[in-house]
């Protein structure tokens, strides 16, 4: 009678369940991306665009003007791709930080790791590698992320999971310092860039160029594959570091590898788009509610839903006050900050 309980059922994480959910969320991502592609001030015909992409589809009609093609191909499509990549990156990084700090309120932005990357990237721009993706800017962003991680884990990494205060305060201070530093640097260097700096601090996906797309996708894919290798170790780590050791995880090595990978994908995302907050907080939490906390299904689901969420947020950001644009970080913060407070209140209530 009990035997059927342990057949790999719908409650157990199996490869087929992971693949099915990933395909479903992938479909959702493409749907949102499709809607986003045709949302904007310029009203572009869906049929004509599809015809452009699939010339053999004779049932489609109409043609795009040169301006329309340019809007689709050089403005909206790269921006949607970058939103998908950055959203996936921040969401996967959020999953890793939450597991390693054993704290559901952790996220690259709240911890100040995004701000650290931003400082690195700004320094990279200042020291002559401006705008180019050589190794200067993403490399410096990576160093900035690592610095922030050292500070956060050095001070707050050892606290028990119920003690949120240290972690959150550390993140607030790291953020305050790094953001002040960025504004300081931009102000003394060139007044004309101040607006850009402000946009960048709140996240800006309009900077999508081929190099940004290339580097974020490479770092995201390599980082995610590496992290997924340790998906089961992440499950063990959230039940306690000593428990993870007792169950066969080399905790020291695993933590260093995972932090490096998470820093890398955060840095690439920030270098490409500035600091966009709360994606890494909201998405993992929603997925846990839907499919449970097992990282083997949580990671791929967070990857796809994170991308979908940021495409949606960016579409709102560029259409709410059209023809003007909001920084996408304004939208994610408007959703994310109340969500964060809700989670914080619940976690304070449940502590003894």
């Amino acid at each position: 009678m009990g035997a059927f309980l342990f057949q790999p059922s719908s409650l157990t994480v199996t490869p087929s369940r992971v693949v099915k959910l990933s395909l479903l969320l992938c479909l959702l991502l493409f749907t949102v991306a499709f809607v986003s592609l045709f949302t904007g001030t310029a009203d572009i015909s869906v049929r004509a665009t599809l015809r452009e992409f699939f010339p053999w589809a004779s049932f489609l009609s109409g043609t795009l003007t040169e301006a329309e093609t340019s809007i689709i191909m050089s403005v909206r499509l790269p921006r949607i791709l970058l939103a998908a990549l950055v959203g996936a990156s921040l969401s996967v990084a959020g999953v890793v930080f939450q597991a390693l700090l054993r704290n559901p309120l952790a996220d690259p932005y709240i911890l100040g790791i995004s701000a650290g990357s931003a400082v690195g990237a700004v320094l990279g721009i200042l020291f002559g590698t401006a705008g180019t993706w050589g190794l200067g800017m993403p490399g410096m962003a990576f160093l900035g992320a690592l610095t922030a991680i050292l500070i956060v884990f050095g001070i707050a990494g050892r606290t028990k999971h119920k003690e949120n205060n240290t972690l959150l305060l550390t993140g607030v201070m790291v953020n305050a310092f790094f953001n002040a530093f960025i504004l300081f640097v931009f102000t003394i260097s060139d007044h004309a860039q101040l607006q850009r700096a402000l946009n960048w601090i709140m996240g800006d996906l309009s900077l999508a160029d081929e190099q940004a797309l290339f580097y974020t996708s490479v770092f995201l894919l390599l980082g995610t594959v590496f992290i997924y290798t340790y998906a089961r170790s992440l499950n063990l780590l959230v039940t306690g570091e000593e428990t993870a050791q007792q169950l066969g995880v080399s905790v020291g090595k695993t933590k260093i590898g995972l932090l490096t990978a998470a820093a890398l994908i955060t840095a690439a995302a920030v270098a490409a788009s500035g600091t966009i907050g709360f994606v890494g907080l909201i998405i993992p939490h929603i997925i846990r509610l839907l499919v449970g906390p097992d990282h083997r299904i949580l990671l791929p689901a967070a990857f796809f839903l994170g991308g979908t969420f940021l495409i949606g947020a960016d579409t709102l950001a560029r259409s709410l006050v059209a023809p003007a644009e909001l920084p996408v970080g304004v939208i994610t913060a408007l959703c994310g900050a109340p969500y964060f407070l809700l989670l914080l209140r619940r976690s304070l209530r449940s502590s003894p």
């Binding site: 157990t12 559901p104 340790y230 039940t239 000593e242 428990t243 050791q245």
Partner: protein, 261 residues
């Protein structure tokens, strides 16, 4: 058969030695209780046996190699630890927690297979936790949670089971449940058990051998009848006690003198 051999083991966090010059052998099939006052080094000893801590002196040998130098995965296939309580975050179900016990037997990128589910089914039957399978761990009572953690340890299919005060937060019925379960695993499956505990009388009833620690050294080591004497207990715990015999088993029973009367 020797499971572990402890040679001249010494450990300190800072200046004073927490454990000093420990020598003993854990034989296959033994049920050992480690007793001693607070701060006598009991929990530290468990961590050294599991190889999580590195000793400054001597070593604990598992099949001939120092356990702290072995790969964690290798150790976890042979030694399982039941912690005092569960400290995880996020709502894992009891079944997911027990499945984690299969981890040292799985490779990266691989998922549990039929064999793993069969092992988990078996250990959850043994520990009477099947009915709890779908429930989140933090919603279980102390005794239920402890049984799930024992099931997870058994899912590792270890030779040696280490327990850190497995009955600390339980009432007498659940204490007896847990210890009877361990005793039956020890008797029927030949599982070797080393349990750190504060409960002298339960240790006396269920263990074949008691190691009595006093400020980091072994004060005495032997069968309960030989170790749990008023003299030993008074010397180690520093409080006067009376000893008698358990009516059914003849094992020693230790009670405080309570001289206030």
């Amino acid at each position: 058969m020797n499971i572990m051999q402890v040679n001249n083991l010494g450990f300190r966090y800072g200046e004073p030695w927490v454990l000093w010059n420990l020598n003993f052998i854990i034989h296959g099939g033994e049920f050992i209780g480690v007793l001693g006052p607070n701060g006598s080094g009991k929990s530290t000893l468990l961590r050294l046996l599991d190889g999580i801590l590195t000793p400054q002196e001597g070593q604990a040998l598992l099949d001939g190699s120092p356990v702290h130098t072995m790969k964690r995965r290798e150790v976890a296939r042979r030694i399982a630890v039941v912690p005092q309580n569960y400290t995880g975050i996020f709502s894992f179900s009891a079944r997911e927690i027990v499945l984690m016990g299969r981890s040292p037997h799985l490779r990266n990128w691989s998922f549990e297979e039929e064999h793993d589910y069969a092992v988990v089914q078996r250990v959850m039957e043994q520990t009477h936790t099947l009915a709890l399978a779908a429930r989140p761990l933090e919603q279980l009572s102390g005794g239920e949670r402890q049984r799930v953690l024992i099931a997870r340890a058994l899912a590792q299919e270890p030779q040696l089971l280490l327990l850190d005060e497995p009955t600390a937060f339980l009432d007498i019925r659940h204490q007896v449940d847990i210890l009877s379960l361990l005793k039956s695993l020890n008797k029927n499956e030949g599982l070797t058990v080393v349990a750190v505990t504060h409960d002298i009388n339960l240790a006396s009833l269920y263990c074949d051998r008691i190691i009595l620690l006093d400020r980091g050294i072994i004060h005495d080591d032997g069968v309960p009848e030989a170790v749990l004497t008023a003299r030993n207990i008074e010397a180690v715990y520093g409080t006067p006690v009376l000893t008698s015999r358990h009516e059914l088993t003849g094992r020693p029973v230790v009670a405080p003198r309570a001289e206030i009367w």
